[in-house]
């Protein structure tokens, strides 16, 4: 078995903690001795509030529940954009006809960021959950399509030839060559899509919602409560970091064949 805590890893972690501590220290000192104190709360206050709001509700729910609501929205929207993006991406990558039909429309819609759909989404779907799903979907869809498409296009012709020499038919060629060789590209797309989804949900929650991390920030602003704003922002950072790590672990599992060494 390999050791999880190597000396080097412990050292790196220590440096990380030192970095974090120094930022907090500089912040604390600045608030105490400069005029920054008028616009920024003490870090201690923020950490305290962060911990308290995990138990005591902010609005109707606790901080953790707010984070879970946001995550649930991302989960739904991201799943929709992921699945449909992979399907469209592969279709566009493998079929010239489908590509010719879809790419002009797609390339026009692609530069429009997810948040630009908010007004239209509210008019169409009201201010309910559907609106959030839609915005997240629009935010993440294009990235999945673009990456999947380039993966499906870059399939090595030699490998396709090799598969056919071994007796693979068209269907096997698709499922056993095209799909697996596109997986790394699909994954890169999903990774970007997940982070834009996470941003899109916050934007959507800031515009219209009564729960979620975005809502915490916006009510903090409305009440002039900087502590609450910062608590909301930190919760976003924590969840975002968690999601990115989760994706990396899944990627390492799925694409272990690409990793050299060990």
């Amino acid at each position: 078995m390999k050791r999880v805590f190597t000396k080097e890893k412990v050292q790196m972690a220590l440096w990380g903690i030192i970095g974090l501590m120094s930022i907090l220290l500089i912040w604390q000192i600045s608030v105490m001795v400069t005029s920054l104190g008028r616009i920024m709360p003490e870090p201690i206050e923020v950490v305290k509030s962060f911990l308290i709001s995990s138990i005591k509700p902010v609005g109707r729910y606790t901080l953790l529940q707010h984070m879970l609501f946001s995550l649930l929205r991302v989960f739904v929207g991201f799943s929709l954009s992921g699945v449909s993006g992979i399907i469209l991406g592969i279709a566009m990558g493998r079929s010239k006809t489908i590509n010719s039909i879809a790419s002009p429309i797609f390339n026009m819609v692609r530069p429009i960021p997810g948040v630009a759909w908010i007004p239209l989404a509210i008019l169409w779907f009201g201010i309910g959950e559907t609106t959030k799903y839609f915005i997240i979907f629009m935010g993440g869809f294009a990235q999945v399509v673009v990456n999947t498409m380039s993966g499906a296009r870059k399939v090595d012709k030699t490998l396709v030839g090799a598969a056919r020499m071994l007796g693979a038919n068209k269907r096997q060629e698709f499922f056993r060559i095209v799909i697996p060789s596109s997986v790394p590209y699909i994954f890169a797309g999903l990774q970007i899509s997940l982070s834009t989804s996470w941003m899109a949900v916050l934007a959507a929650e800031m515009v219209s919602s009564y729960k979620g991390s975005g809502w915490i920030i916006i009510t903090g602003m409305n009440n002039g409560n900087t502590v609450q704003i910062l608590v909301g922002m930190i919760s976003i950072g924590v969840v975002g970091l968690g999601l990115a790590n989760l994706m990396r672990i899944i990627e390492r599992r799925l694409c272990s064949w690409r990793i050299q060494g060990q």
Binding site: G161, A163, A168, Q262
Partner: protein, 259 residues
């Protein structure tokens, strides 16, 4: 199986019938093969030997069905070749292994495609993995193997469908000299154990003489057959024996004239 009158001799496995190949681009025509005729007997080891870029690989790809001839036909086992198929195993210069599959996954790819039951194809794959000397590496991914080991997987994969014909396209061209000698020895050993009709493309004269029953010397582009040599040396062959060196000198001087 479609039998045609063109192939009559009983033990002819591969027949190339006046093959022509011209690559056409927008305003350019590049004639690569001109009137190539060859008959290869069952279980014969034929080396297509010629200068670099002379179209050897194109001949091989046409036999494989990966490329189409402009004119002329190829018959394998009496059947006209129009597309790739599992009756011909192929070993590539760049290994062309499926990087997302383990050694076992690669070797059993063929039988799996043809619907062979798991237990049987595992057994068969294991046999060939052992044969090429990769026992214990079944679960490794290709990226973790050395160049020589990757080519061993490629050879096992080509054999595992049990094709009567194996085509090898400069399989050891990318290996260092030491590994190359070793792999030539290994291939020689495998071929004595598992008799197949083999077409082997190379531009390395030592390799050609070491392995071949017959060397087919090709001309420069557009290529055709210049001369054929039956290699009668006893196996396993010795790179440094007098007969070997004489033959080497003879073929090399013949080739030099063509360049």
């Amino acid at each position: 199986m479609e039998n045609t009158g063109t192939v009559t001799a009983k033990n002819i496995m591969i027949k190339c019938n006046s093959i022509f190949k011209t690559f056409e681009s927008k305003d350019d025509e590049n004639e690569v093969i001109r009137n190539f005729n060859l008959e290869i007997k069952e279980n014969e080891f034929v080396v297509l030997f010629g200068p670099g870029q002379c179209g050897k690989t194109t001949v091989l790809n046409i036999i494989a069905g990966l490329e189409q001839s402009t004119k002329g036909e190829v018959f394998v086992n009496g059947r006209k070749i129009t597309e790739p198929g599992p009756d011909r195993g192929m070993v590539y210069q760049t290994t062309a292994l499926f990087p997302w599959l383990t050694v076992m996954g690669n070797v059993e790819f063929g039988p799996k495609s043809l619907g062979v039951k798991k237990k049987e194809r595992r057994e068969r794959a294991q046999y060939y993995i052992d044969l090429v000397g990769l026992k214990g590496f079944e679960k490794h991914y290709p990226i973790k193997l050395s160049g020589g080991m990757q080519q061993r997987v490629g050879i096992a994969r080509a054999y595992c469908n049990n094709p009567p014909v194996i085509l090898l396209d400069e399989p050891f061209g990318a290996l260092d000299a030491q590994t190359r000698y070793l792999m030539e020895e290994e291939l020689g050993r495998i071929c004595t154990k598992e008799k197949r009709t083999i077409v082997f493309v190379t531009n390395n004269i030592e390799e050609a003489i070491y392995l071949a029953d017959r060397i087919v010397l090709l001309t420069n582009c557009p290529t055709t057959i210049r001369k054929e040599y039956i290699i009668g040396l006893p196996r396993p062959r010795d790179y440094t024996s007098n007969d070997f060196l004489t033959l080497r000198k003879e073929i090399t001087s013949e080739m030099d004239e063509t360049i």
